[in-house]
């Protein structure tokens, strides 16, 4: 094993990790605003990917319009979901929140499969699929684009949480719902914004995934694979999602490269359990976890 193999593994691990990070950011936005873990995030990805497929490949829209339409539709879905499913459950126990997003995932998956079937689809490539050499390793342009988008999203979200009214309101609600309510913050409005944002980030990630791995059902499993990422980075931390994504991506890539038994499938989960045992709030999360 030479150093070039190591370099290749590093680059591919990092770029995979950035896809994870992109997905993880959606989790973080919802968790930050409402303390809900969205088990339907994988299905949101799937929806985003298939919507883009529908708009661009099936309706033949130019890709810029298609992507915009995808993002708008995704935001609408996020709003509808929040209004019909999540809002009646504000203040219910954690188990109800978890179960309702699981139910949602089953429903969304059925809708996607019902409309588009389960066979993988060829996604129209609007992102150049060439490869460039980077520090002696070969990396696809689409991967570089993922990294760029993740970086942009991180910046935008950080600014959003720091400077905009809604962003600050979200942090206030996450900090203390009662106090936020008494300061006149509308939880309903903020939650609606959070779900719309999460759906949009998921759609962006879905489109990127559709480009790199194709439009298929397997996208759902990425939703599950992202749990180690968000736990490692901290459930309420946007930079944490990026760092967690990078670390998990690298770990997977090295395990896949240097072992042969398929261990990379569970290494993230072993990390997850270790993190939960040692530092449950993750690398960058706020230490609000309640110990028993």
């Amino acid at each position: 094993m030479g150093s070039d193999v190591f370099l290749q593994l590093t680059v591919s691990g990092l770029s995979n990790g950035m896809v994870y990070a992109l997905v993880a950011v959606g989790f973080v936005v919802i968790f930050k605003a409402s303390d809900v873990i969205n088990f339907a995030q994988g299905e949101f990805l799937l929806f985003g990917a298939y919507l883009a497929f529908a708009f661009i490949a099936q309706f033949g829209l130019p890709w810029s319009v298609g992507v915009l339409a995808t993002l708008l539709t995704a935001a609408m879905i996020g709003l509808i979901v929040e209004r019909l499913v999540l809002r009646p459950l504000i203040g219910e126990p954690v188990i109800s929140m978890i179960m309702v997003t699981i139910g949602l995932s089953s429903l969304l998956r059925a809708v996607v499969n019902g409309i588009w079937g389960v066979r993988p689809k060829a996604f129209p490539n609007f992102i150049p699929s060439g490869e460039v050499e980077f520090l002696g390793a070969i990396v696809g342009i689409d991967r570089l684009l993922v990294i760029a988008i993740a970086a942009i999203l991180l910046t935008v979200l950080t600014l959003f949480f720091r400077h905009t009214r809604d962003g600050i309101a979200m942090r206030a609600i996450a900090d203390d719902q009662q106090a936020a309510l008494s300061m006149g913050i509308s939880i309903k409005r903020v939650l609606a914004v959070a779900w719309a944002m999460a759906a949009i980030t998921a759609a962006v990630a879905g489109i990127m995934l559709a480009n790199t791995v194709g439009v298929s059902h397997d996208i759902i499993f990425i939703g599950l694979r992202v749990f180690p990422v968000v736990i490692l980075g901290g459930l309420d931390s946007v930079p944490g999602a990026i760092v967690g994504g990078g670390v998990i991506g690298l770990l997977e890539s090295y395990t896949a490269g240097y072992t042969t038994s398929g261990l990379e499938l569970i290494v993230p989960y072993i990390v997850l359990i270790l993190v939960l045992m040692v530092r449950p709030y993750g690398l960058f999360g706020k230490e609000i976890i309640e110990r028993v």
């Binding site: 219910e92 109800s96 028993v292």
Partner: protein, 347 residues
């Protein structure tokens, strides 16, 4: 009609079924269970057996989630441990099934203790994610430890024998399952009236208060994990011998989710709810299937969308119950009972 509760000794006051109507309903249920296999078609017997196995598993999960308030997404993993445990004991060591099933349940209880360890530090969401990880890891071990489990190959378990009769038909296995399910229900019902059950409920409602009044939270949480896993392992082991084939596909995260759906739809923290939920989750896909089949001639496209309809309805039912009736089918059943308790003089 009841007009009041007049007990003159502790025995009748402490009884599990106290009122005449309760006793009548229990009697009816028992008679129904005995008569059922003689009237039912094999199709319905098969469904009844599935419901019985699911009820045992759901009661097990309910002990953990509904009574102790510890969320677990690892149900499928525990069932896998029970199923493979019992199957391997029978196949490799020739242990008769009436010994291998309890042994497998005990093994699962130990596995539950191990998975339960993080619960000492984690709760709510974090525990759910930890059990999710445990589920993935067990799934990986089962599919990759070829030497023990046969990997992705199916493990064939011979049909169990009891009193010289082979229990290889739905009709015969029904009796085993019904007896075990009733025993489990009775055990659980009494458990929740005991010191242990009360301690669990106290932990669920407010763990800090529970520890303040002297409940050993750590010990009782671990006990909940062990007891729950024992029953879940039991259900997995019974499934192995009932299907006489064990494959890992039966124990994925989907299974964990459908069991959680059972206890949510049925009603958290109720035994009757475990049964109702199990029945609904088993019957729903079967009903949709039958409906699809009957539509096959008039609408041939129905067959192609059938799996999606099943999946969609599954999700929709979960959402609707959570939003509209969070206490589940058990609450609906209680409403019906309350209505008829003083019927026709209810006002």
């Amino acid at each position: 009609m009841e007009s009041g509760i007049f007990f003159s000794d502790y025995r009748s006051d402490m009884a599990l079924r106290r009122m005449p109507l309760q006793k009548a309903r229990t009697g009816l249920l028992l008679v129904g269970l005995v008569v059922f296999p003689f009237l039912a078609t094999p199709y319905w017997l098969n469904l009844a057996n599935q419901i019985a196995i699911a009820t045992i598993g759901a009661i097990g999960l309910n002990i953990l989630v509904g009574y102790t308030g510890q969320i677990s997404l690892g149900q499928g993993a525990f069932m896998a441990v029970g199923a493979y445990g019992s199957g391997l004991l029978t196949v490799r060591l020739d242990v008769p099934f009436y010994l291998s099933i309890p042994a497998a349940a005990a093994i699962t209880a130990v596995a539950g203790l191990v998975v339960g360890l993080p619960s000492l530090r984690l709760k709510g969401l974090y525990l759910a994610v930890a059990t999710l990880a445990a589920q993935q890891i067990v799934e990986f071990v089962v599919t990759h430890w070829d030497g023990l489990t046969g990997g992705t190959e199916a493990l064939v378990v011979p049909a169990p024998e009891l009193f010289g009769a082979r229990m290889n038909t739905d009709g015969r296995f029904y009796w085993i399952l019904v007896v075990v399910a009733l025993a489990v229900a009775l055990f659980a019902a009494n458990l929740f009236r005991s010191r242990v059950g009360r301690a669990w409920v106290a932990i669920r409602d407010q763990d800090i208060a529970a520890s303040a009044i002297g409940v050993n939270v750590f010990a009782y949480k671990l006990l909940a994990f062990a007891t729950s896993s024992f029953l879940v392992g039991l259900s997995g082991a019974l499934l192995a011998h009932y299907r006489s084939i064990v494959t890992w596909e039966r124990f994925t995260i989907e299974v964990s989710i459908s069991y959680l759906a059972m206890i949510i739809i049925g009603g958290l923290g109720t035994i009757s709810g475990s049964f109702f939920g199990a029945s609904l989750i088993v019957l729903l896909p079967a009903m949709i299937n039958t409906l699809g089949r009957s539509l096959q001639d008039t609408a041939p496209w129905a067959a192609t969308v059938l799996p999606y309809v099943q999946q969609g309805v599954f999700g929709l039912v979960i959402i609707l119950f959570l939003v509209l009736e969070p206490e589940g089918l058990a609450k609906l059943w209680r409403n019906v009972k309350d209505y008829f308790r003083v019927w026709p003089f209810s006002y």
